[in-house]
């Protein structure tokens, strides 16, 4: 958790710098991230409660319990996106310019996420005999946490070279495509995937669909004027 907070702080600093190039004020970037993070925390709890209403009817004090495990990450992300969109619209922020300004924040956050997986031993790999395997959960495993951290770092580095791209939205879409592509590749080495259709890894299928959608968006953006 500390690694994620540290990543968020570094990402925010970079997003502020990027915002100047996108003609968005630092205050707006700070506010949109702040509201996003607050909604992420509250939205995650509310979504968890809504999915477990009978449990909370019987133990209503649990609503304000400090247990961090009563949290729905998908609901949290959804709530944060909605609030960020509403804030952006109310402030009249240009959608693609804002996403570009936020891209360094997202990119650093994914590096922090990989490091936090490594620290916690989650998102672990399947067994391997490769020399760079790491001993985790009673077996030598693919260091998938290191793979994802390196992939995120590489993505960030590539974005750095692309940071002067004048076409709005391209920085964010490049980040999204590289992230989806690297997940599609790395998930094959994970040892904790959910399987669908008997043997396919659900995470890979989602990454594949996301990648196809991002390609469509890139073409759509290239047709538009910057």
């Amino acid at each position: 958790m500390l690694l994620i907070f540290a990543a968020a702080w570094i990402g925010l600093s970079l997003a502020e710098k990027r915002a100047e190039r996108s003609a968005i004020s630092k205050d707006n970037i700070n506010n949109i991230i702040f509201y996003g993070l607050i909604t992420f925390v509250i939205g995650g709890r509310i979504s968890f409660i809504l999915q477990n209403i009978p449990a909370f009817i019987k133990s209503s004090l649990g609503i304000i319990s400090i247990n961090p495990d009563m949290f729905d990450p998908l609901g949290a992300v959804t709530a944060a996106i909605i609030v960020m969109l509403v804030y952006g619209q109310r402030r009249g922020l240009l959608f693609w310019h804002t996403l570009d300004a936020l891209t360094p924040f997202f990119a650093i956050l994914t590096i922090g996420l990989g490091l936090s997986h490594l620290a916690a031993g989650t998102a672990f790999g399947k067994e391997t005999k490769l020399v760079w395997g790491i001993n985790l959960w009673n077996a030598t495993r693919h260091p998938t946490q290191i793979y994802e951290t390196l992939a995120s770092f590489l993505t960030f580095s590539l974005l750095w070279f692309k940071r002067h791209d004048p076409r709005s939205g391209m920085l964010f879409l490049t980040f999204a495509a590289l992230t989806a592509g690297s997940q599609l590749f790395i998930q094959a080495f994970r040892g904790d995937n959910t399987l669908i259709l008997n043997d396919l890894r659900q995470e890979q299928v989602i990454a594949f669909a996301a990648l196809a959608f991002i390609f469509i968006l890139i073409e759509y953006r290239l047709k538009e004027k910057p």
Binding site: F48, N52, A55, F56, K58, S59, S60, L61, G62, I63, S65, N67, D69, M70, G121, T122, F124, K126, E127, W137, N138, A139, G181, L184, F185, Q187, A188, G191, D192, N193, T194, L195, N198, D199, L200, R201, Q204, V205, A207, F208, L211, A212, F215, I218, E219, L222
Partner: protein
Amino acid sequence: MYTRTTMYKNQRIILYILILISGAAWIALSAEKTGATPSRNMPAPQAGFAAPDFTLKTPTGETYKLSELRGQALLVNLWATWCPPCRAEMPALEKMYEEYKDQGFVVLAVNMTYQDDPFAVVPFTQEYSLTFPILLEETGDVAAAYQLRSLPSSFFIGRDGIISEVIIGGPMSEALLRTRIEEILK
């Protein structure tokens, strides 16, 4: 006639198609042929793995072997009498045990006796009127197998013997316990 822009667009589309075909091939190549998540058959103290087996005794000498409880929904709670959050969550554990035991829910409260006062355990269970099995861990082997990092630590284990959720620290609220228990009772 192709313009330069059209050519670029066509090149990009060919690149997208090539990437997507490669992606689809990679998904097919890396499919899990066994049809099951690989971690399920290996014991480890992590969600998705089989719960490490152990055999421990209660203060009255009764023996419990984890693998013999397969088919029931289990909560293995590692605790100590000196640990404030462990004490705080005991009433909620007892309440949930009473409420769900008829549906096949069992709490195994494993006292870390090797780092606790053995004479404090029975008075503790009497003070909190605990009716679920209290097991004594006198060697540190179970703590090592479950890679104990913090007390309390709770492992929710499904009827198939697979760990569904690990909660490090506490105290757990009733609502949290209820959601997790109903999950493993399915």
